[in-house]
Symmetry: C2
Subunit: 215 residues, 2 copies
DNA sequence: CATATACGATACTCTTTAGTTTCGGATCTT
DNA sequence: AAGATCCGAAACTAAAGAGTATCGTATATG
């Protein structure tokens, strides 16, 4: 599904025969993420991942020493995949930028990431390293994007420099997570728009777009 | 720890001998919740729960047909315990009420509930009933409290009736959940106050308490 | 006090799954 | 083409844990 690029050194050099085929690692990691999202860490088995990737179970163990390491690798590799926040919207207004971030593809991506997060939620308490990796790969990209947008708005003087953008940039991700994981309701434009207009814009001091009167 | 009250019918009546001792059910359910919070659903074993409750494993199976049913019961029983939101703060102002909700005990309670939630997060996708039960027992009480406070503020004319209180009442719970489960940072008054003053109050149209000037 | 029954402890069965080993076939190197 | 090695498939091992059965003890009922 995702085309990843692993630094993939060719191990130590054998005189003859084949080299270890690292070209399929991305497929295996993608399969692991799929199964993880569907069944959770404990529900998932190595056989499921191998079957999904059409690889032998032994092949997986030739590359990763354990199930846990495989998952850590799989989560970590999500960080660089599909996060093309390099070109963020730049409409000239904060609201325009935030609205421009609402895209079906982005929503689907978020929902998949949240399913993965749910799958390893119970391990996060016991493995701080995994928790950091999961945050960095699954949530932080979106948070960072929001932060950049707000920072730009500060720099162009649109909003006050006193805004707690570290806090505000967490609102959408955490509300989306709540809605998907707990309420199990779909994330649609209406919901995201009500977050933008009902929460974020007022919080940065930009009044509501339609109703400027208090009474 | 928690003193629960189970309707506890005495099964069918035996002629002689003891009746089934349902007085210890609450202790067992409390033990189950503790182990669940500590190790997650899959990590927890019936033996752990039995040991924690100083009960025999067979005793647990005499009362609950399976591990899953035990957990469902344990989560469900949380709903009525420790949720004395019957007497909510009533300071006369929304901000006063929200600030009055900040109490160390309440924070500890939330954190424990969130650990329980994390423990069964991966099952919520596969068991909608459990998801509803978990939400009703672990998150919804806090959400409902916020909603009541805001509804009162609307009724007394403090804030606009157009406020989306169903949305706004989710903000604190979801942000706290994010902070505890993902960021694994402590929830303190400073954080909650910045939510109130930096997000909620602006969103309901009540300006910041110190700085009323826009420029 | 006698008896039936529920209790806690513990041994047991059976299923699942992580991780290993084996093997025939495919493929790269020389 | 020959040889070495990696591949996928599948059999295998070992450990963990859900659920059951047994047993001696405690206790409520009568």
């Amino acid at each position: 599904m995702t085309q990843l690029d692993i630094p993939g050194t060719t191990e130590h050099s054998p005189r003859l025969g084949r080299k270890r085929d690292h070209t399929r690692d991305p497929e295996i990691l993608a399969a692991a993420l799929e199964v993880l999202a569907e069944t959770g860490y404990d529900g998932m088995t190595i056989d499921m991942v191998a079957a999904r990737a059409k690889a032998g179970k032994a092949t997986l163990y030739r590359r990763w020493p354990s199930k846990g390491e495989l998952i850590i690798d799989a989560v970590a590799c999500m960080k660089q995949s599909g996060n093309d926040y390099s070109r963020l919207p730049d409409t000239g207004s904060l609201r325009g930028d935030l609205v421009a971030m609402i895209k079906p593809l982005s929503i689907k991506d978020s929902e998949k990431k949240l399913q993965i997060l749910a799958g390893l939620m119970s391990m996060l308490s016991h493995d701080p390293g995994l928790a950091d990796a999961a945050n960095a790969a699954l949530l932080e990209p979106k948070v960072a994007a929001n932060r950049v947008l707000m920072q730009r708005a500060i720099e162009r003087g649109e909003i006050s420099a006193g805004c707690d953008i570290d806090l505000l940039s967490l609102i959408t991700p955490s509300m989306v997570a709540y809605r998907v994981l707990i309420l199990r309701k779909p994330v649609d434009s209406a919901f995201l728009l009500s977050l933008i207009d009902g929460v974020l814009m007022p919080a940065v001091g930009l009044g509501p777009p339609t109703n400027g009167k208090t009474d």
